[in-house]
């Protein structure tokens, strides 16, 4: 369980930070600014369902 949570948290953080950095390098200023303005507000919404995998795993792994 701790490995699943740890790996998930690490990868989500890496994806979020690298995507934030990538947004800054985009050529289209309008696109770059739109993403930058709403980045964290959107990021947590888009990724919100995924930590529930841990709950799904936790519930099913205990099944006899």
């Amino acid at each position: 369980m701790r490995y699943v949570l740890g790996l998930s948290a690490t990868i989500f953080a890496l994806v979020a930070f690298s995507a934030d950095a990538a947004a800054c390098t985009m050529c289209n200023v309008e696109v770059r600014d739109t993403i930058a303005e709403q980045f964290w507000d959107m990021a947590w919404r888009v990724l919100a369902p995924f930590p529930l995998i841990a709950a799904l795993f936790w519930a099913l792994d205990r099944m006899k």
């Binding site: 989500f12 369902p49 099913l60």
Partner: protein, 168 residues
């Protein structure tokens, strides 16, 4: 090689949880590939920022990428869990149970997608380009619950089959 395990020591949880996590991730890919890219019914934030200009399309594609990165992560974790499960001596690799777990995970992904992205946050609708997009959300949710019911039934059926075999 045949594994001999005491009947009361057999566990189904590790296989079902691994299958469900893979199903969760692959369910996300089905949504992304079929509904975002092939049919183009919606994109990740198409209800907030309709992809009707090139710039809006690019922003939506960016968030589709973040979504796909997360589904890839879920699938990778599921494969690691499956690898761990299949190395255990008390886990039987039942194909029926695996199919059930995959459907269970797929349905769970869709229900989470419905709850968060369609109803709570309103990031997108299943089909943005019809007169009543909310109806497509309701149908999607109903189908998703159906996937969970079928998946759970298959898992239970596989459990009963394996218990009957143990009792022979």
């Amino acid at each position: 090689m045949t594994r001999v395990v005491a009947a009361n020591a057999v566990r189904t949880g590790p296989l079902v949880s691994a299958g469900a996590v893979i199903g969760f991730g692959m369910g996300g890919f089905i949504d992304g590939i079929v509904l975002h890219q092939i049919l183009q019914w919606h994109q990740m934030i198409s209800n907030i920022l309709p992809p009707d200009t090139l710039a809006n399309k690019q922003v939506n594609t960016f968030w589709d990428g973040i979504f796909h990165a997360a589904t890839w992560t879920a699938t990778a974790i599921g494969i690691a869990l499956l690898w761990r499960a299949l190395r255990r001596r008390d886990v039987i690799a039942s194909p029926l149970m695996m199919w059930g777990a995959l459907l269970l995970g797929w349905g769970t992904f869709n229900v989470m997608d419905s709850a968060f992205n369609h109803y709570i946050f309103g990031l997108h609708n299943v089909h943005e380009w019809i007169a009543n997009p909310m109806m497509s959300n309701h149908i999607f949710l109903a189908v998703s619950i159906g996937l969970i019911v079928i998946g759970w039934s298959l898992v239970q059926s596989a459990k009963r089959t394996s218990k009957a075999a143990e009792n022979l």
